[in-house]
Symmetry: C2
Subunit: 436 residues, 2 copies
């Protein structure tokens, strides 16, 4: 992509309203713009990252055997009355009346709607287990939206719902998501620790939060130093394999958020405790028949009985993850994208646009990198080199390639690794090989 | 995908509420389920097709030089007051009040919001032209939603917005979209004819509707038989190339919807008129400064003047297209998917699940097709062969591969082309080669 044709409105100044690094950097790097309090437009650079995060989430859900569908944003209030949550949910639910004065709402979560879909179509134990998920925009009318996409009102969430005949099978479904979550966050370059959590308004008695460690995280967390030894990517989670040992390992060590932490407990005392800060990026629940019972989502067992299905739900804050990644990976000059979610792999800078030879060499390199399948953002604008370097550091692409008149004379570009800051001169003819 | 693990709730009976073929077939083929009037959940098979349609739309927008971003579903009412459309829009706009009693709405279209983004960031003619698009869920509170996804309330739309310094340049942006639309619909196997249209509530003085021809279309259309000779895929629309001759060709012949048709006009009389039925799938507008003037979206010209930008907008009904494709391509047994948008390329049926040898042969074939990159839906259920054949015809995958005990003895499968109905026996070892 040529920067002169792209839409990347970067800001030199730090916007006054932004209190945390990810919010500041997403505004400055031209990734988002606020439309109304807690509601954002995703500009092209931000959308590209959002889609990469979404793709990783989707791949790991698919690998874990979950099936994708898509529920609408607007729901009828009737189902929420049926489950008993319509009054419970309070003002965070965006309530809407349509032209025929029917009560509707913008879905903050989908337990009711998926339970309704399930009960209309699935009647037999033979069709179980099932795990259905979607990736859809949700709305929660936060009283004080803040921190950019970290606590917005309209946000993108992946939510999966599992349906099993009995609790034993439901725990297997829970474990599959547990392991998929470990893999999902690790693939984005994040260190996430599952912590036993309060079930809150979703309900149920088994629940874990996945907390990403970041110095600027929203809440204090306490965990065993032993988590350092665990490698989430070591787990190959084939559909149907027994994941209990993996879950046992990851839940064998002490880990608690501020609210759940008890420094005087035996477990906490037995631990080599590390204190840090964290950001919640995922939350999983097993809640049995909490929804299936009042909503009569029942299946026939092999001996002809009708029983309510055992359910769990599994959320990942897809748009929030972008904030978490930036909080975990930035420096004073800007964002440092892990390659798996970087909007472009390479930023190519023409440092001397007035030199026709230099421009021709840049154009040729841009074309060659494109032909080799490398996704490049090419800064072809007529602005100073200093501005180009500062912009590239700000938007944080993994690799920077700078070519100016001086380099051209020697037949070299300067190649910089954004994460390490290392620079090296590379012969122009070797750039493509180096980056593929 | 194994059908036993998938979620594909097909229906034998025709649902009473469905009046047109696409609505009936999408319900029967387990592609959608209604949540509330005109609001649908997309079940896995429907979502797969929706994503394929969306991908084609996206590719052609990108090829035409448009840049993707993503605006939120919920907008502040303020911008609509500023443009003067807040009162005009009437009850079709879903109006919402948030917890702080601020007036919000679920976007039915995005002229105001994109104009706001533009005016905050772009100040100079040097940054023009720009074409920004998104693919996002919209809501129009239709008084009587009907015909399934053809006239729903929550629907997926691609909307692009072009910004140019002057009308001459704006017409080039218009032409680029005109040609992109011809290509987009042709790639989905649709025959679409651009027809001069009324600009309605969007405004402006240049506008075309793209109408897909289908016997069951919603409106009557009249067009010159000469359109038969035109090939939309003959147009290679490189960014920046002069497309006026292509647009001139496609607008040189008479074409009008019922409302615009005048049988007594000179043009209509000079035409070899064909009468048919059609479905609107796209609509493009050039409306100059209708929004940029009241909203003060101005840029500096090269001689330092401030002028309002010249704008156009370009919509494609992405979810509606699915209905249009089915209306244009089905028979009495079900849907006939054009390969470009088919949810799976191949349906593999095990006709004798009780025969272990047959099951083993099917499993092997399924694995081999998957390894060759062929997307297969594998009917491994314990149900009768008749039900399997009927289901496959209903969901309309381009190719059916049937293997039973009898075929296995002779080492052959039956391969059926869904569109032509042709069947042939193919040696088991040659199936993969035949389908790749």
């Amino acid at each position: 992509m040529r920067l002169s044709r792209y839409f990347l409105p970067t800001l030199k100044e730090t916007p006054a309203e932004a209190q945390i690094a990810s919010h500041r950097l997403m505004l400055r790097a031209g990734m988002i713009r606020q439309g109304a309090a807690g509601i954002y437009s995703w500009l092209p650079l931000g959308l590209k990252v959002l889609k990469k995060i979404e793709a990783i989430v989707r791949e790991e859900q698919d690998s874990a055997g979950a099936i994708e569908l898509l529920m609408p944003t607007i729901q009828s209030a009737d189902l929420w009355v049926e489950s008993g949550r319509y009054d419970d949910y309070g003002k965070e639910m965006l309530r809407i009346e349509d032209r025929h004065e029917r009560q509707m709402l913008f879905g903050p979560t989908n337990e009711e709607l998926i339970t309704d879909i399930f009960r209309r179509e699935i009647k037999s134990y033979k069709d179980l287990p099932k795990n259905l998920y979607h990736i859809q925009w949700k709305f929660r009318d936060e009283i004080r939206p803040r921190f950019g996409v970290m606590r917005g009102r309209e946000f993108l969430m992946k939510d999966a719902y599992s349906f099993d005949l009995d609790a034993e099978s439901a725990v297997k479904s829970y474990n599959a998501m547990f392991v998929a979550y470990l893999r999902t966050f690790a693939r984005m370059g994040l260190r996430a620790i599952p912590m036993r959590a309060d079930t809150g308004p979703i309900g149920g008695d088994l629940s874990h939060e996945f907390i990403v460690l970041a110095e600027t995280g929203e809440s204090e967390v306490f965990f065993d130093a032993g988590f350092d030894e665990f490698d989430p990517m070591a787990v190959e989670a084939a559909v149907g394999s027994d994941l209990q040992p993996v879950v046992d390992q990851w839940t064998s060590l002490y880990a608690a958020t501020d609210e759940m932490h008890d420094p005087d407990s035996t477990e906490a005392k037995a631990t080599k405790l590390v204190q840090g800060r964290g950001i919640e990026v995922g939350h999983i629940f097993f809640f049995g028949d909490k929804y299936s019972k009042p909503m009569k989502a029942e299946v026939q067992t092999s001996d002809g009985q009708s029983v309510p299905v055992q359910m769990g739900s599994y959320g990942i804050g897809v748009s929030r993850l972008m904030g978490a990644i930036i909080e975990a990976s930035h420096d004073e000059n800007g964002i440092i994208w892990p390659e798996a979610v970087a909007p472009f792999k390479v930023g190519l800078m023409n440092l001397t646009t007035k030199d026709e030879g230099c421009t021709a060499a840049c154009e040729k390199l841009y074309a060659k990198l494109g032909a080799a399948g490398v996704d490049v953002l090419y800064d072809d604008r007529n602005v100073g080199a200093g501005q180009k370097f500062a912009n590239m550091d700000l938007i944080g692409l993994p690799w920077q390639v700078a070519l100016g008149s001086r380099g051209l004379k020697n037949g070299v570009v300067e190649l910089k690794n954004r994460a390490t800051g290392e620079r090296e001169e590379v012969a122009i003819g070797e750039v493509v090989a180096k980056l593929t």
